[in-house]
């Protein structure tokens, strides 16, 4: 699986979404299931999957599918 697919998988699993859900525009403001528990869960899975460490600034910055990608890129994870 590519890094992008792994990232996508975290969203699908944690938010209990259908496999083919369009994620590009997904954010805390348009997704009811994205509560603080899911938030922490997604971050810790990103840490495990990509072997990175999230900072407190990342926790706040992470508010959409796109911003999660930006965080990963800033940590040197290549997303194709």
């Amino acid at each position: 699986m590519s890094n992008l697919e792994l990232y996508r998988e975290i969203f699908i699993n944690c938010l209990m979404l259908e496999e083919d859900t369009e994620l590009e525009e997904l954010s805390t403001s348009n997704c009811d299931e994205w509560d603080s528990f899911v938030h922490v869960e997604m971050l810790s899975q990103m840490e495990k999957t990509f072997q990175i460490k999230m900072t407190k600034a990342d926790i706040f910055q992470f508010s959409s599918y796109k911003s999660g990608i930006e965080i990963l890129i800033s940590k040197g994870i290549e997303l194709d």
């Binding site: 209990m16 603080s36 922490v40």
Partner: protein, 470 residues
């Protein structure tokens, strides 16, 4: 009107009651006008199902419905629609208060009043008789859509609200912020205690893990914050909360299950240094909210205790063994207080019933009391757990699973923040977990499902929960 009659607010009516992220400020005078306008439509004292969110329109609606002496049931706006339909059929509410975005779900009902994006829909049901003392209905089990409701009187609500507001020493200078849904009894109690004190509430649906929450927290100089144990966990691990001395913050309150001893210790020690207060509250929905409190002062010495009863609350421990008269005997925690609700309702006919409890509540919690009168919980007699502060009945989940999956045999157990489902039947574990998560409105990661060959039973035929292990 309700809020003015029950509490004398010594504040100018120009005082702001609600404020949101757009800077919209609603004064008490404006809220009273909304209530008067609602009344002027000719609405009667009837049952109103409110699909709640932390939005000014929704909370203003709750204020007005209470002010006009109507009887609300606060529900989660995201409540599963099949469960909602069943609840509506059972109780036949005369009105629904919902977000206008959801109007199309109820094309057969017509809107008769609107406020800030929300509206009151008139249903087609006949009027249901309501007991004259009934003020509000509370759900007993989070989001399972159980028809079992708690009947709370005006006296109950006034008593509970006063106890909490006085314990937190709220005044009209205080500013709170929404940290949980209004349909949680704690969420509702926080609103009530601010409104009865003439204080202000900042309304947001942002969580403590979002920058927006902390921007509002600082901009509005919030003085008090309420949280369930998980909130404290988040503040301790994921947010720079313990490293920041927010000078405007005066008091934090906690209910919704047991705070971890580590969190209790670190918050208490820090707050003592900073001159802030941490109030740990223990309550029951059947008591309309809080019953006991643990203060910052005794927080370390009495670590793990649920504290002492609020003034006006009497407590007794009814020993399991009546011959055991030793001082630290354990037994069921029983309270007597004016905030103890009138009883349950299972159907619309029950809404005309009066007080059945005589202000006495058997909590189902096992406890012991120490020489200083501090109470310590030891376990539960009834089968309830809390997941992120949401109360969940294990027996109800078993019923929901049996209704969903033909021929399934199942048994649920668990502890706070972890639900264990054991089942025998030809279904996938993942399927069961996801269904339970959806129906309960909790994350599947807090659920463990295990397929077993058969459910262990005692000779009596009752499920032997002790033998279930994952």
């Amino acid at each position: 009107m309700f809020w003015n009659e029950e509490w004398t607010r010594e504040v100018s009516s120009e005082q702001v009651a609600l404020v949101d992220k757009n800077g919209t400020c609603i004064t008490y005078k404006e809220l009273d006008e909304v209530a008067a306008n609602l009344k002027a439509t000719g609405v009667k004292r009837e049952l109103v199902f409110m699909l709640t969110e932390n939005e000014i329109g929704c909370l203003g609606g709750y204020y007005s419905v209470m002010a006009d002496n109507m009887v609300p049931l606060l529900l989660d706006a995201k409540l599963d629609r099949a469960l909602l339909t069943k609840l509506i059929e059972t109780y036949q509410p005369a009105y629904l208060w919902i977000n206008q975005k959801n109007y199309q779900e109820f094309p057969e009902y017509s809107s008769i009043f609107e406020y800030e994006g929300f509206g009151l829909l008139k249903t087609n049901f006949e009027s249901v008789p309501l007991h004259e003392d009934l003020a509000i209905l509370l759900t007993t089990s989070g989001s399972t859509g159980s028809p079992k409701l708690v009947r709370v009187s005006r006296q109950n609500l006034r008593c509970n609200t006063n106890m909490l507001a006085q314990n937190a020493k709220l005044t009209c200078n205080d500013i709170g912020i929404t940290t949980m849904p209004p349909n949680y009894s704690y969420g509702m109690a926080i609103l009530n205690m601010h409104w009865c004190s003439g204080a202000r509430m900042v309304v947001t649906d942002a969580t403590v893990l979002q920058q927006e929450f902390w921007d509002l927290f600082v901009e509005n100089q919030v003085t008090n914050l309420g949280g369930v144990p998980y909130t404290y966990e988040l503040l301790s691990h994921y947010v720079d909360f313990l490293e920041t001395d927010y000078k405007h913050l005066r008091v934090m309150t906690q209910t919704g299950g047991k705070l971890s001893e580590q969190n209790q210790k670190e918050f208490t020690e820090l707050f003592r240094k900073q001159g802030k207060e941490l109030l740990i509250w223990y309550g029951q929905t059947e008591a309309s909210g809080g019953l006991t409190y643990l203060s910052t002062e005794r927080g370390i010495e009495k670590l793990g205790s649920i504290g002492i009863p609020f003034p006006g609350v009497e407590v007794e421990i009814i020993s399991e063994n009546p011959n055991d008269v030793s001082a630290d005997a354990s037994g069921e925690l029983v309270f007597k207080c004016d905030s103890i609700s009138m009883g349950y309702a299972l159907n619309k006919e029950d809404l005309s019933k009066g007080d059945e409890r005589n202000h006495i509540l058997y909590t189902g919690d096992l406890a012991k009391i120490d020489n200083d009168g501090y109470l310590f919980l030891l376990g539960r007699i009834n089968r309830l757990i809390k997941i992120l502060g949401k109360r969940i009945s294990l027996d109800e989940i078993e019923v929901l699973l049996k209704n969903q999956y033909a021929g399934i045999e199942c048994a649920c157990k668990g502890e706070d923040d972890l639900l264990e489902i054991y089942y025998a039947g030809d279904y996938k574990e993942k399927e069961i977990t996801i269904f339970a998560g959806k129906i309960l409105g909790i994350n599947p990661r807090q659920i463990v499902s295990r397929k077993v060959d058969n459910i262990p039973r005692k000779e009596s035929g009752k499920i032997d929960y002790g033998k279930l292990k994952h």
